[in-house]
Each structure stands twice: as structure tokens, then as C-alpha cells.
């Protein structure tokens, strides 16, 4: 362990001793994600051999994060409000303060389970719950719709037209013409949905990979960093876009079930009707958004910011999004 790691684990130890009653140390410290500006750590608060609390730390050691992301403090505040609302989330145990010497971030209870979507789609232990998951995604999204937005910490307002406009400027700045993307932008600009009477909490990255599954079903929805106030159809559509089907084309909702199952459960939980045309609009937008993200990987690769083979191969997956968009826009998806 180098000096910086040592300072970090010492700070973590003394913070844990202050927060978790009876804790005398930490054990099994592991880094789960390796983002440059956001770190996720897993560890146990212990007293000798006894594990008192299994924990996750999400922190930003400093440095700029994407302008699209909430601050970790706001994310923690949001999860605290959702805890007990019926939306399954981990419990936030502590929001970091300056005296913790750990940067910005928060500490939450670690929920065991599976987050690798392909395993949930294929492993035998999930076989009995798989047919029910599309409906469960709808129920959870419906429960989010019932959350009173006045109780939430300040969140950015992102209706469709704002997201489309930002995406268009991101695409234009990449400087590579992609006729299929322009076809999608034109369609989105010509078919903008009517404003809603009431906008709701939107997770913003609602898909299998941000959900913890147990053998009994969904245990928690994670990664609220791009949450905003907007159109609930955005989440219903995102979990139904082709990249999360993993080859299960006939089960559009996360490779697990049908839109009918998702929508019915959403309507039952929220008491509001789903407008399938609205969800379709967001599916086009979601596919395009994923496509622009893949297209932006070219710059990472050619600038040398990440010259790995893996990054190069992700950049070559833009065509996959172009195909998905062609299928959606011609009604063959």
C-alpha cells in the first residue's frame, strides 16, 4: 500500500469509528469501480472478527465530474428521501463532511446480490423470478411516480426538448456526420411530445445494470447520479432499449419481458396511464443517446486518453446503434 492509500484507509477507519457504534476498525476494503472522478469502495465496519455493518462508500476524491451528474451530496439526499417511500434503495448511513478528510461522498448499507445483467438473464438461480421482473420494473417506476417532488432535494429539470438539444450539440461537436443519427434527430425534433401537466422524478439510467437482484427479485435500484425531474416515460423507455436486451430480442424490457407487463404494472402502481407513443419517442431518444456516447469514444481512443483495444472496440459499436435506430424508425424493432 502506498502513502496515499494509507492516508485514505486511515481516514476511512476513523470516520467509520465515529459513525458505526462499536466499530474498532475496517476489513475487506475493496475498490469496486475505477472511474477517474467517482470511486466506489466496499468494506466492513468490524470489532475484531465481528462484522458490525457491511458498507459501500461512493466518493469523489476531488476533480470535476460530468456536468450531467448530481453532486454526491445531492444524490445522498435523494436516496435518503426515497428510503421508506417504497422505491427499493440502499440506506444512506452518512454523508461525508470536511472533517472526514475523504472528499465528497456518502456511506451506505451494502446490499448483497447480482448486478451483472447477463447472469440475471441466464443463471438458474434467477429462473423463477425472470418472468416477473419486467412487471417489477414497472411497479418500481410507478412507485417513483408517486413520490412527491416537493420533498426531493433540488434536481435539474430535463424535459425531452432539453435532452435532445444537448445531445444534438454533443453530436455536432464530434464532427463526424452520421446520416442515421440525423434521421433520428430530425424525427425527434418533428415529433416532440406535448408538455406534461406534472413532471416527476426520473432515475435517468434505469436499466438492469443499475439494479441489484436477489433470488426473490429486485433488491435495490442504484446509481441515482443522473436523476432529474422529467417525463417518467424516459425510464420506461430506457429499460426497453435494445442495448439491454442482450440478444433476447423478443423480450424488449431488459431481455426479460414485454412492454405490456411493464406498462400494466406501472399503471397499477402509479395510478396514471402510459402513453405508448410517448415511450416510443423516448426509445428513439434513448437509442440515439447511447449511440452518441459510443461515437464519443472515438475521441478518447484517438487522443490517447484511453488507447486500449477495448475502447477502440466500443467506438466501433456505433453501427450497432445505427442498426437499432433504423429498426425503431422504420417500425421493424
Amino acid at each position: 500500500m502506498n502513502a496515499m492509500d494509507n492516508t485514505f484507509s486511515h481516514a476511512l477507519e476513523s470516520m467509520t469509528a465515529r459513525i458505526v457504534p462499536g466499530a474498532r476498525g475496517i476489513a475487506d476494503l475493496r475498490r469496486l469501480s475505477a472511474g477517474a472522478t467517482l470511486e466506489t469502495w466496499s468494506f466492513d465496519a468490524v470489532d475484531g472478527d465481528r462484522v458490525l455493518h457491511k458498507l459501500i462508500l461512493r466518493r469523489s476524491p476531488g476533480g470535476l465530474r460530468s456536468a450531467e451528474s448530481l453532486s454526491l451530496e445531492a444524490e445522498a439526499g435523494l436516496i435518503r428521501v426515497l428510503d421508506g417511500s417504497g422505491v427499493p434503495v440502499p440506506t444512506v448511513v452518512h454523508t461525508l463532511v470536511a472533517a472526514d478528510n475523504l472528499g465528497d461522498g456518502f456511506l451506505m448499507t451494502r446490499i448483497e446480490g447480482e448486478t451483472i445483467a447477463r447472469k440475471v438473464l441466464r443463471d438458474a438461480q434467477f429462473a423463477s423470478i425472470r418472468p416477473r421482473l419486467a412487471a417489477q420494473f414497472g411497479t418500481i417506476r410507478g412507485t417513483m411516480t408517486k413520490v412527491d417532488t416537493a420533498r426531493l432535494p433540488p434536481l435539474p429539470f430535463k424535459p425531452a426538448e432539453i435532452i435532445v438539444a444537448r445531445l444534438a450539440s454533443r453530436y455536432d461537436s464530434l464532427g463526424v456526420a452520421r446520416p442515421v443519427f440525423d434521421l433520428a434527430f430530425r424525427w425527434l425534433e418533428q415529433n416532440a411530445p406535448a408538455p406534461l401537466k406534472q413532471y416527476r422524478l426520473v432515475h435517468g439510467d434505469y436499466r438492469n445494470g443499475n439494479i441489484i437482484f436477489g433470488a426473490e427479485g429486485v433488491r435495490a435500484v442504484l446509481d441515482w447520479e443522473v436523476a432529474h425531474i422529467g417525463d417518467p416515460a424516459e425510464d420506461l423507455a430506457w429499460i426497453s432499449t435494445p442495448p439491454w436486451r442482450f440478444g433476447e430480442l423478443d423480450r424488449p424490457v431488459g431481455g426479460l419481458g414485454s412492454r405490456r407487463q411493464l406498462f400494466d404494472a406501472y399503471e397499477a402502481a402509479s395510478g396514471e396511464r402510459v402513453d405508448p407513443a410517448r415511450v416510443y419517442y423516448w426509445e428513439v431518444l434513448g437509442s440515439l443517446r447511447w449511440g452518441v456516447s459510443c461515437a464519443s469514444m472515438l475521441e478518447w481512443f484517438s487522443s490517447g486518453r484511453d488507447g486500449s483495444v477495448e475502447r477502440a472496440m466500443i467506438a466501433r459499436r456505433v453501427s450497432e446503434n445505427e442498426l437499432d435506430l433504423m429498426r425503431i424508425l422504420t417500425g421493424t424493432d
Binding site: 456526420a177 442515421v180 443519427f181 440525423d182 430530425r186 430480442l249 483495444v309 466501433r316 459499436r317 453501427s319
Partner: protein
């Protein structure tokens, strides 16, 4: 002038070396990296085999669609602009065919195993079959 085997055939041999000989001997993370490398090598081999043809054909389609000459990048930028301004759409003569062909040609090189690609090819083959029977 250059001798056999040509580049694409040698890449196929490198891909087999990675998958069949090296991967089984590597620890999990290194085996994953080796698979990424093998997939990349397969992509490059397909680009060598098909890349020149599909780009030449795309250029021909763009020239007739736009009624002008230019490089592939220039004509694609021109097409993008016309679509974005609404001057051309899926109902325009030749546009849907061009976009489908271009997209499927890219997928043939980038990711021929992708499920939506396989499905699209099957559907189109089925349609051709039906047309012949009509």
C-alpha cells in the same frame, strides 16, 4: 507482388492462436483481455476483406442519391445536412435503401453476431423469398 498468405489469412491464424491456445492457459482477467484482442483481430480481418468494396458501393449510391461528386466523407456530411433540414426523408427515392445497405454493410464488418443484425438479415431474406413466390 506480395506473397500468400495475405494479411486477412494471417490475422485469422492469430485469432485462432489467441482463442484456442492462449486463452485456455490464461487467468480469467487476462483471458478476457485476450478475447477482446481476438474479437478486434477478427474485425480487422473483415475490414480487410470487405471494407474497400462496401465503401466503393456506398460512394456510388451517394453520388446517385445526391446527384454530385465528392469524397465519401463530403457526401455523407452533405446527406446528413439534407436529412437534418428535412430535404430528404425515408420516403425519398433511394434514401431508405441506402441507409439500410450502409448500416448492414458496417455491421457485417463490426459485429456480424449481433442479434438484431441476424434478425434483420433473416427478415429481409424472408421478404425476398415471399416476393419471388408471388
Amino acid at each position: 507482388m506480395l506473397d500468400q498468405p495475405r494479411g486477412a489469412d494471417i490475422l485469422a491464424a492469430v485469432s485462432r492462436l489467441l482463442r484456442e491456445t492462449l486463452m485456455p492457459q490464461l487467468p480469467a482477467n487476462a483471458a478476457f483481455q485476450a478475447r477482446v484482442a481476438a474479437n478486434a483481430i477478427d474485425l480487422v480481418a473483415r475490414e480487410i476483406n470487405f471494407g474497400e468494396t462496401v465503401e466503393r458501393e456506398a460512394l456510388g449510391r451517394l453520388q446517385s442519391l445526391l446527384g454530385r461528386d465528392g469524397s465519401l466523407a463530403e457526401l455523407e456530411a452533405d446527406l446528413s445536412g439534407r436529412i437534418r433540414r428535412g430535404e430528404l426523408d425515408l420516403q425519398s427515392e433511394g434514401l431508405a435503401d441506402h441507409l439500410w445497405q450502409t448500416t448492414l454493410d458496417k455491421m457485417k464488418i463490426d459485429q456480424p453476431a449481433y442479434a438484431s443484425y441476424r434478425r434483420t438479415l433473416e427478415t429481409r431474406a424472408g421478404q425476398r423469398q415471399t416476393k419471388q413466390e408471388d
